[in-house]
Symmetry: C2
């Protein structure tokens, strides 16, 4: 059974895709067979892995599509290798937005992703889910399918202010669909030179002691540049500060595994 | 007739809310009576202006709600003053997400915001629309109601890569709903110290010469700090580089007015 980790925050641009790809690469580097799933119709994770989004025949849209029952046999062929050993990708494409619209009108759609991932579970030790900056149907399906949710929180005002509301939404998902969901907050884009960054980090650690992870991801230009290279940070800049911090995150998450 | 400017980019965290509030404040400072409208259910613009989102009785959700016909007389009371003379706010609250879901199932909902803004048009010279990081119903209504759309583009890889797709969506809106929509790209979070920032800016100017504005908004810590103060950047840090750049943007947009 794979450990499923959703990466979710309705705030945009806080490092969700960067965290999904970097953490996935570090888990693969540590010998764990890992699948990263792109649940954002804008497909940044698919782009980060170097695939041509417009050229994809199959994507996660087909796996989730209710009328996709006919695609059964094709499922195995939606998973792509990446530049990293033991790291695989289930890509997205813009069709996913229309599939989400159709799916969310059907009763009990929330468990659809969890059901579909079951056929991938036996092949991977970790499945990481990248989500769009919204609390819509795709994010809800990810929260229902996951055992853990990691919320990257940029050390800035808007991101921090939303956390109480986000925590309430996660608690509602725990209550209604998925009692085992463990909730973690990951401070990202931390810039020790600015007062606001230091202030927000301290506030996070005081207000959410049970959720905030020990690992803090600092601002690192390498974590901007990797996106254009089709490689994750572990290959693009293996000894950068950003890579070391994501390796630390991988170790911290390995330490928290339920029934590891 | 007010000039309506939508601020839209499906990429998250690129400075949409910051641009809407800062540009609004600079237009008000230049003597133009301006309304900023928060079309994001996460309500960051409402927070930036210092309002308590949970305590609001009326918001833009009531203005747009199809069953909101009964709220007619209350319309005037949804507009709040801000810390700046001549700058007013039509706030959001989380109920907007549910209103968007209901509205987008009705035929011809796309023109709903344009119709509702007509009753505000005579009172303001400018109406600026802040939108969520998505290409959903709220953003579509904003693009149909607006005469101009300004897309903040962070000088980073994912943001730049999406522009061709975003331009196609805007062109489709022009063709189907709003032929007068003028499209502009605003480089934001520009950091002249990094190679990737300089590279993306040059690429933007070469690939989209007709859309890219002359104004470039650089990285400025003051444009992070303002969010916690209930003031726009023009009051919080009136002589900062960020404020000067947004004043330049206001002048550039005033120069482009259709039939000014
Ligand atoms: N620690 C970091 N240091 C510097 N840059 C970073 C860091 N983490 C992410 N970035 C950069 O910040 C930008 C936003 O990150 P990313 O796209 O991963 O966020 P996101 O939350 O997935 O955005 P969206 O809400 O649009 O999906 C990207 O250009 C990314 O390369
Ligand atoms: N030029 C700038 N320099 C430094 N910080 C900035 C600048 N512009 C915006 N910011 C900060 O970057 C963060 C993201 O900006 P903002 O929230 O305005 O983006 P957005 O596109 O509205 O995000 P979302 O997609 O979540 O709605 C905020 O903390 C904001 O204060
Ligand atoms: Mg992303
Ligand atoms: Mg915003």
């Amino acid at each position: 059974m794979a450990h499923i980790i959703a990466i979710s925050n309705s705030k945009g641009g806080v490092g969700k895709t960067t965290t999904c790809f970097s953490l996935g690469a570090c888990l693969a580097e540590a010998g764990r067979r890992t699948l990263v799933v792109d649940l954002d119709p804008e497909a940044d994770l698919t782009v980060a892995a170097g695939l041509d989004v417009e050229a994809l025949t199959w994507s996660v849209a087909d796996v989730l599509d209710v009328d996709g029952e006919k695609a059964g046999g094709q499922r195995r062929s939606v998973v792509y290798a990446t530049a990293v050993d033991r790291l695989y990708l289930l890509p997205s494409n813009p069709r996913l937005a229309e599939v989400e619209r159709r799916l969310s009108e059907r009763p009990n759609y929330e468990r659809r992703l969890a059901r579909e991932l079951a056929s991938f579970n036996s092949m991977y030790e970790f499945v990481l889910l990248d989500t769009p900056p919204a609390l819509g149907g795709l994010t809800l399906m990810a929260l229902v399918a996951a055992s853990y949710v990691v919320t990257p929180v940029q050390c800035e005002y808007y991101s921090a202010r939303r956390l109480t509301r986000i925590l309430n939404v996660f608690r509602a998902v725990q209550g209604r669909f998925n009692p085992k969901l463990a909730i973690y907050f990951l401070p990202t884009l931390y810039d020790q030179r600015t007062r606001i960054s230091r202030g927000v980090l301290t506030q996070l650690q005081q207000s959410f002691p049970d959720q905030v992870l020990e690992t803090v991801i600092g601002v690192d230009t390498r974590l901007r540049e990797y996106a254009a290279t089709a490689e994750p940070i572990t290959l693009y800049a293996p000894s950068s500060r950003g890579t070391e911090q994501y390796r630390q995150l991988a170790r911290e998450m390995l330490g928290k595994l339920q029934g590891a």
